[in-house]
Structures are given as C-alpha cells and as structure tokens.
Assembly symmetry: C2
Homo-oligomer: 184 residues x 2
DNA sequence: GCAAAAAAACCGTCTAGACGGTACAGTAAA
DNA sequence: TTTACTGTACCGTCTAGACGGTTTTTTTGC
C-alpha cells in the first residue's frame, strides 16, 4: 500500500525536522534521522535516495504546510482588503512555541542554505508567490513591501532564536490592522 | 612585528568570509581557508587555535565593521530624531554588491547558527544593543520595533540571496524618512 | 480461496573519503 | 632569541552512500 510508505516518509521528515529544531543543522545526519524515526539507515535511503533528496522532501512539505496556514487565515478574515498581509504576519509569528510551522521552516532554511544553496529554488518560488499575493491584496505596493519585510524580520528573529516580545508583536499587528483598514 | 601578524589574521578572515559568501558554510574547511589565504594549515592554526576560534574572530570583526558603518551614518545625519533608525536601514541595505558588510555578516551568521549556536552570543548582544539604541531614538516604541523588523527583513532577504528591488527599498526608506519626521 | 511468485519495505554492515586537529622538524626575518 | 611561519605526516572520528540480504505485503495463477 502507498499509505504505509507515505506514513513512513512522514515519520522520517518529522524526525529530520525535530533534529533541525532541537539540535541544529550540523547534527542532521542520516543515522540520527533514521534512529529518531525508528528505522534503519537502509530503510531511510529506500524512501529518500540521498540526504539531499530528503531535504527536498522536507522543504516541499514545509511550504505546503505554510500555504495551508495562509489559506486558513485568509479564509477566516472577513475583510478582503489586506487580509493576505495580515495572514502573512500571523503565520510568521505564532504564539504557541511547540507547533510553530514558521520556526520549523526557518530551521529547515538554515540547513538548506548551509549545506546546499541550490536547494533554495522552491523556497524562492514561494517567496515570490507571497510577494505577488501581497501586491494583489488591495494595498499600495510600498505598503505591501513593508509588510513583507516586517514578516521576514519576524522570521529572521525566530531563526536566530531571539525572543521577540509578544506584546510588541501584538502592537505591530494591531497597527497594521488599523493601517490596512485605511492605507498605511 | 605585530602589524604583520594582524595583517595575516585579516587575510585569513578575508578568505573565510569569501568562502562563506561564495560557497556556503559547508565548504568552510580549514584547508580551504588556508589555501585561499595563501597560507599553510599550520600557519592558520598558529593564528587561530581552532576553527571555532577563527569563527569568533570573524564575528567580532563583522560586528565592529557594522558598528563603524552605523556610526558614520549617524554622524552624517543632521536630524537627530530617528537618525539611528535611518542608519540601521541604510546599513542593512547597501547598493554596492561587492562591499556589502551586511551580506557578509549574514553569511557568517548562517555558518555560526548551522555549526555552533553557542557562538551566537556576541551577535545577540549586538542585536540587543541595536534594539536599545532604536528605542532611544526619539520614536515611539512600536515604530522603533517596526523599523527594526523592516531592517531585519532586509537582512533576511539578502541572506537568502533574494534580489530585492532597489526602487522598492528606496520607497520604503523614503516613507520611513517622512514618517520619522512626524511620528510613523 | 490459497499457494507461489513478485514487488515493496526494510535491515545492518562496510567502505572510501573528508575533516579537525596534532606533532614536529625546519626556515627566514626582526 | 623570539616571532612568524612552512610542510608533511599522521590520527581519530564522522558520514554519505553502496550493497547484499531479509521480511512483509501485494499480485497472480490455478
């Protein structure tokens, strides 16, 4: 069955993700991932034919997860104008530390950049797509760009593990909320 | 003489930096650095007793360079109110691609995070210092924080090698220019 | 409905090479 | 004599990936 294989693949990617978040990119080895996924190294390499292949799988899954989050946020926002912008900021900063897809994506990013910048392509595509959607969000281009930079800044801080003050983020989100209502 | 030694140390750090920017953190090996610096591996280890030691040296030099840039920018800005904020954005984004200290710092950052998060300390100190200086820049706290995030966002993009539209950056800078004159 | 064949999923060891770091003998200049 | 190196040989460790074999699942033939 394909479901079993998909399940195993997911387990492998979960393990890789966990190692990236908790131990850093340097400790992401095939052995470590296999062990954490309760699998042999051979089993791992059956599903992903190389470490690079595994990283690609991880990137794609992360991006898909992020897009789902964005979709949900947009869906739950009744005001069309600027709702993608708000969604982007909300996804970039999520309060619950454990299940933060943005931070996971960040950890993945670091690993990718450090080990194989060629794998950045799908991520760049995603970023371009976000920029485009921001531009078509009913805001003027400069405001859209500013919001993107703010979101990226939040990412950046989370990536470095810098504790960002939740109250401050709330202030920023509120101001954006107000300004996207008018014009920013 | 001490000048000779300092010169060699600088040459070594230049080489390390160059490898980081052009090839990525994975290719930063002692052998590669020594070769690029036209030096033997033994010679390198004479100046830096370990790879970690070399990284620390690199971080410190980068931070010093950035602070010098900030100082210069602030010095050349006649309007006291918000001039550190403007300086920060200007340093984060520099047009001339070759000599961009911000991008070099970014590459170093990645290497550090990926290989030894313990070395982040001096960088976190720097970031906190920047945040503090932004807060004492005559702007309200939320505006200051927003500007920091924008600057970090610019960093983030440069770090990923994402080509940011110079015109857009100019627009952002101009708006900040206008707003820091009034209140943002 | 069931056995045999085939394919999929997985195990665990082995190897070749890279890398950080050490040791040390020697050299050249200040 | 000290400082600033060169250059080589070497060690221990780590890691990606290859490989041959084994178990489990699915498909096929009857």
């Amino acid at each position: 069955m394909n479901a079993k294989a998909d399940d195993t693949r997911d387990k492998i990617l979960d393990a890789a993700q966990d190692i990236l978040v908790t131990q850093g990119a340097m400790h992401l080895t095939l052995d470590a991932v296999a062990q954490k996924a309760s699998l042999s190294k051979g089993g791992l390499l059956y599903h992903f034919k190389s470490k690079e292949d595994m990283m690609v799988g991880l990137i794609h899954r992360q991006i898909a997860g992020m897009n789902q989050e964005l979709k949900d946020q947009v869906f739950n926002d009744p005001e069309p104008r600027g709702r993608f912008a708000r969604a982007y900021l909300n996804v970039a900063y999520q309060k619950d530390e454990c299940e933060n897809p943005s931070q996971k994506l960040c950890s993945t990013l670091i690993a990718v950049i450090a080990n194989n910048p060629k794998l950045l392509e799908p991520i760049l595509t995603q970023i371009n797509s976000i920029q485009e959607r921001l531009q078509n969000d009913g805001l003027d281009p400069t405001s859209a760009f500013i919001i993107r930079l703010i979101g990226d800044g939040i990412w950046f801080n989370q990536m470095l593990g810098i504790p960002v003050d939740p109250d401050m983020i709330a202030n920023v989100l509120q101001r954006v909320q107000e300004e996207t209502g008018s014009c920013l």
